[in-house]
Amino acid sequence: MDEATINHLLIVGGVLGGLLIVAPGLIWLERRLLALWQDRYGPNRAGPFGVLIVLADTIKLFFKEDWIPPFADKVVFVMAPAIVMITVFFSFVIIPFAPGIIVTDLNIGILFFLAMSSMGAYSIILGGWASNNKYSLLGAMRGAAQMISYEVFMGLALMGTVLLANSFSLVDIIEAQRGMWFVIPQFVGFVIFFIAGIAETHRLPFDIPEAESELVAGFHSEYSGMKFGMFFVGEYLGITLISSLTVCLFFGGWLGPDFLPPLVWFVLKTFAFIALFILLRASLPRPRYDQLMEFGWKILLPLTLINLMITAGVVLMREG
């Protein structure tokens, strides 16, 4: 094995390990932040600042009865949570954490991400279907519609940055932001991408597939134990993914003043967006399903198209 391979393996291991720590860490972070914004303390008993609550929760999840309902489609039921984990992990392949710290710099990076997040829809649909339960099925239907719809202008919103950077590779895109973060020319694109990202990860306020006040727990009503845990981890990794993509595409990725190393810049920026995700959850109510779809197709889609046209026009104008 040459040094490059070892280095590469180290990066893969590092990314994987980092993500596995981040996911449960986010659970703790979310609970603490939510508490902070709701005048509470949140988990503060187990370990320093209650961080070990995550460990306790994980142990609890592992030891819970791994129940598969007798009426469920067993194979699909087990597969569904695995899909969400796998697709999200795959998406991280293209994320450049710092110069050189990237699993693989695909020249179609963004397309790969879009492909993977489309695959994620399967986990919701299959999970809801296999549960063989009306609430799960309703949740899955909503989830499918929501994810597919928002995927459309999520992709379109990114095209602006692609045009500006003239590349699908994330490393190229970040490098292209050395002069100016794309959030300035592509502000509309950023807003739409972020909204679509929330919908993609079906986080509050767009957690319509789960909507516990109407659908028990939506597509994962029947899940318990570590299978439920996998959905949970998938969701938090999804948040991390969207946050890091936002950072890469619009906020210059690892770029920042030299007093901090690039990786730290990247992590700081990402966590800022994760906190924004949590703040959204803390403050906004859930819209109705039809409102959500209307908002997507009637407002966001035209806006994205206009944004794309203007960007294209500007690019053409500058080149021409």
């Binding site: 914004w37 005048d39 509470r40 303390y41 403050s283 906004l284």
Partner: protein, 171 residues
Amino acid sequence: MFSIIRSMWITFMHMFHKRETVQYPEQKNKLTTRWRGRIVLTRDPDMGERCVGCYLCAAACPVDCISLQATEDEHGRRYPEFFRINFSRCIFCGYCEEACPTYAIQLIPDFEMGEYDRQNLVYEKKDLLIDGQGKYPGYNYYKVAGLAIGGKDKGEAQNEDPPVDVRSLLP
């Protein structure tokens, strides 16, 4: 749009508010006497058991977690032979206290009764009976009830005439 941002801002600013949480085991809340916690059986002012074994608490209990058996002493005073509450089932609704005609069963502001073994949540009479009157001092059921018991014959309760002399025809 503005309202969304405003509500996010308001939520964000809550970061700097005072915490509402009471850090329970270290700090304790003051509970009112009407708090519905652990159930006790009280005694009347003469230190006799107030419970007369009427079964109304058991009947009122929505989770059926009270069972008892009434019995009598040699003078006709009723008391429970055993009185059992399964606190692993109790929902602390207080219906038993409302149903009790003698103020015997009372819910008190104590809720710290966790156990590692569920079996220990089954309380018998010896665990329930206290040496006091609880929330309703002064009440003595047998002083108002018509039944004769040891130390209180017919006609000696509150608001009672002496027993009728059946052989008298006087008005």
